[in-house]
């Protein structure tokens, strides 16, 4: 045994108290391990989507897995993809609009490095600086603001390898070093700090390769000097070629976005066969069919559009005086303008979808936030570090991490974008049955009953209400809620019968309550008013921004 952290035998009052508490806890908490088969069976039921918000994420990822497996004809499904979904686990690190510098990194400054977010760390590997290419890596944990160097890997120094996170490993493939377009790759397991080589690909990287994790496999596009693509299956350590791209990815930063079953890419191709002039377009690759099709012209006048999959829709953002943001209407195969590029806005190097807004970061004092619903731009503090070229960046469950960006840029910043403003107060609507204010009582939060989901044509829905405060696990009587009806939202605020005694603090039980809106729900969000700004639960995990937030249900489509 090494250095002891808790020398109780020489203990202070605190150690003695802890020793007693340990014994007391061991006596009070004696759980029996349920049969593991039952644990697995319950997880399997969850996978098939019967449990509300969790199920939504599971089903989305499962769809990816099924589609990908259908493509390869492989009936056995092994999936461990990046399915944590948009989360806010690190939003509590900073206040909205707050930024901080990262602690010094063990790595020297660089550009074009591989970067992924694992859910715990930003993993960086390789890259390039003025004196050559690099083969070191490091992990940054934003919760502890600490770095750790990665164990040395099997790959030669290189820049810009494709990188994905599988849920277990970082997969790296390709990249470039002087005179070499690499075909090899490796997998890094952060849980064990170990590497393994993967099989060589049937294509060469050419330019800057891109990688996309489908949930079971890694798709790679060779780079902006190639139309080749391939797919890697880590279970079989085997590659397959994919259909050639109908054009070459746009340099210098190829733009791809993944919806869960379709990969969108900005490609350039000869305007006419045999002609040197090139035109560009947005293409969609269907994973299940292994085929490409061109979308309607974007007509943004820019080669440098950023493509973003933004919570259910494809966005394209083009900076510059004639720039704009547009969303793709899948049904009509057309682009719909959202907003003009804001005047005086600078260039940006990094984009991230926060779950509610598109964050565009380019260093300096301010970053841009685009709300695609309202089409409005706002600014949020960017951290005050200078602009840089091709830095490492990830959206890390509530905060943006940006590090590096050339030889003299060995610093980084953590950014939590500011919150959206609260909606305007809705106009009053007379109703004999509905009151905007709940009956006075103790605060409560609520969720949708997953067994009885709302319908847009119904005027009632079932909420599962839970007392917010500590009360020995008992919610108690649910009081008549306050209901505010707007054109876009139905805001429901619950209270429960006041209990002056309180109690210990396990979570309280859920009590079903049928809410009568007096009119059909329609195409409106259902919102927990206790989660809104100033609400009793607004700062609790029940209302975590960028994850569930205050929206308990949203109509599909």
């Amino acid at each position: 045994m090494g250095e002891h952290a808790n020398p109780v035998e020489r203990g202070s009052e605190l150690d003695q108290r802890a020793q007693r508490a340990r014994s007391g806890l061991a006596a009070a908490v004696q759980p029996e391990a349920p049969p593991f088969g039952a644990v697995r069976a319950r997880a399997k039921r969850r996978r098939h989507g019967t449990l509300g918000a969790a199920a939504v994420l599971v089903v989305a990822a499962a769809s990816v897995a099924l589609l990908a497996d259908r493509r390869t004809g492989d009936a056995e499904s092994v999936t461990a993809g990046p399915v944590e979904g948009p989360g806010d686990a690190n939003a509590d690190l900073l206040a909205p609009g707050e930024t901080r510098l990262m602690s010094p990194s063990p790595l020297g400054g660089r550009s074009t490095m591989a970067v992924v977010w694992t859910g715990f760390e930003m993993i960086i590997w390789g890259g390039e600086r003025s004196d050559g290419h690099l083969d070191q890596g490091a992990g940054y944990d934003p919760r502890t603001d600490t770095w750790r160097p990665l164990a040395p890997g099997p790959l030669d120094a290189r820049n810009a390898p494709a990188a994905v996170w599988t849920g277990e490993e970082v997969l790296l493939w390709g990249g470039h070093s002087p005179g070499v377009d690499h075909t090899d790759g490796a997998a890094y397991d952060p849980a064990t700090d170990t590497w393994r080589r993967i099989a060589d690909a049937p294509i060469d990287s050419a330019g800057r390769p891109s990688g996309i994790w489908t949930g079971t496999q890694m798709v790679v596009f060779a780079g902006f000097n190639s139309t080749e693509a391939a797919i890697y299956d880590p279970r079989r350590d085997a590659w397959e070629r994919l259909a050639s791209l109908p054009g070459q990815p746009m340099p210098p930063n190829p733009q791809f976005a993944f919806s869960g079953d379709t990969i969108y890419g900005r490609l350039m191709y000869p305007a006419d066969p045999g002609e040197a002039s090139m035109r560009s377009g947005v293409f969609a690759y269907d994973l299940a069919q292994d085929s490409w099709r061109e979308l309607a012209p974007l007509d943004d006048g820019s080669r440098f559009s950023h493509l973003v999959w933004a919570g259910g829709e494809l966005l394209a953002v083009s900076p510059g005086p004639d720039g704009r943001a547009a969303r793709y209407d899948h049904d009509a195969d057309t682009w719909i303008d959202i907003a003009r590029w804001p005047e005086d806005a600078g260039e940006f190097e990094v984009h991230a979808w926060t779950g509610r807004a598109l964050l565009l970061w380019g260093g300096g004092d301010d970053a841009l936030l685009l709300d695609p619903v309202s089409g409005t731009w706002t600014t949020t503090p960017a951290g005050g570090i200078p602009p840089r070229v091709q830095p490492a960046s990830v959206w890390a469950d509530g905060v943006l991490l940006v590090w590096g960006g050339w030889s003299d840029r060995a610093d980084g910043v953590v950014v939590r974008p500011g919150l959206r403003t609260a909606p305007s107060p809705p106009p009053p609507r007379p109703s004999a049955e509905i009151s905007e204010q709940p009956v006075p009582g103790d605060p409560a939060v609520w969720w949708i009953d997953p067994d009885e989901p709302p319908s847009t044509t119904e005027s009632t829905f079932t909420a599962l209400v839970s007392r917010l405060g500590c009360n020995n696990g008992v919610t108690g009587e649910v009081l008549r809620p306050g209901v505010v009806l707007t054109d876009h939202e139905v805001i429901v605020t619950f209270t429960v019968e006041h209990d002056p005694d309180g109690g210990t603090c396990p979570g309280n039980d859920l009590v079903p309550y049928v809410v009568d809106l007096g009119e059909p729900l329609g195409n409106r969000d259902l919102v927990d008013g206790s989660c809104r700004a100033g609400g009793a639960a607004a700062t609790t995990s029940h209302c975590a921004e960028d994850y569930e937030g205050s929206v308990r249900w949203r109509p599909s489509g």
């Binding site: 952290a5 808790n6 108290r17 508490a21 593991f36 697995r40 969850r46 969790a54 064990t192 039980d509």
Partner: protein
């Protein structure tokens, strides 16, 4: 939320290289650790089950680690403090148990006060103090479990102890660092 392969979920699948024994031996202590960090036995059990499911999926790799139990503790303690993951687990649990009443754990008031104070510490300090106070772990063990450096553990330990002592009105000697080095 992780997707679990069908073949690994099938109840009829047999033991995978000692996993069952590992699960039986480690389940209760891991639940107690999660309880210290969450204050709820039902949620602690749910989070622990998620941790063991994760270990089962990677058992070929986890089983060859020097301390597979440490790997599970890292997963579970991180899930305990990760509000997004915890929220999902909590919602799932609440939905499953919504018509049942969950009896709170009965602790002596002094014990409850101590563990509540641990939970109120910043997340990383709470993880370190939970491992030290509940499992009597050495600094090196804690560093391995949490995947951070020993100096980081010492810093969190020192700050956490001072904060706890102040909150609980207990004496915390000025030379505790020297004691721990012994």
């Amino acid at each position: 939320v992780a997707i679990v392969p069908d073949e690994e979920l099938s109840p009829e699948v047999g033991d995978r290289g000692g996993f069952e024994a590992f699960y039986r031996a480690e389940f209760a202590p891991v639940v107690r650790l999660a309880f210290v960090l969450t204050g709820r036995q039902d949620l602690a059990e749910e989070l622990a089950q998620d941790g063991f499911l994760a270990a089962h999926r990677r058992w070929d790799r986890v089983s060859v680690l020097e301390h597979p139990g440490g790997w599970v503790r890292r997963v579970v303690t991180n899930r305990c403090i990760s509000s997004g993951r915890r929220h999902l687990t909590e919602l799932r649990l609440l939905t499953r148990l919504r018509r049942e009443r969950v009896a709170p754990v009965e602790l002596a008031p002094a014990d409850d006060e101590l563990w509540s104070a641990v939970r109120d510490l910043p997340a990383r300090q709470a993880q370190v103090l939970a491992l030290v106070f509940l499992e009597d772990r050495a600094v090196a063990d804690v560093a391995d479990i949490l995947g951070c450096g020993q100096d980081t553990v010492r810093t969190h330990l020192r700050r956490g102890r001072l904060a706890l002592a102040e909150r609980l009105g207990l004496a915390e000697g000025a030379n505790r660092e020297e004691d721990r080095d012994g």
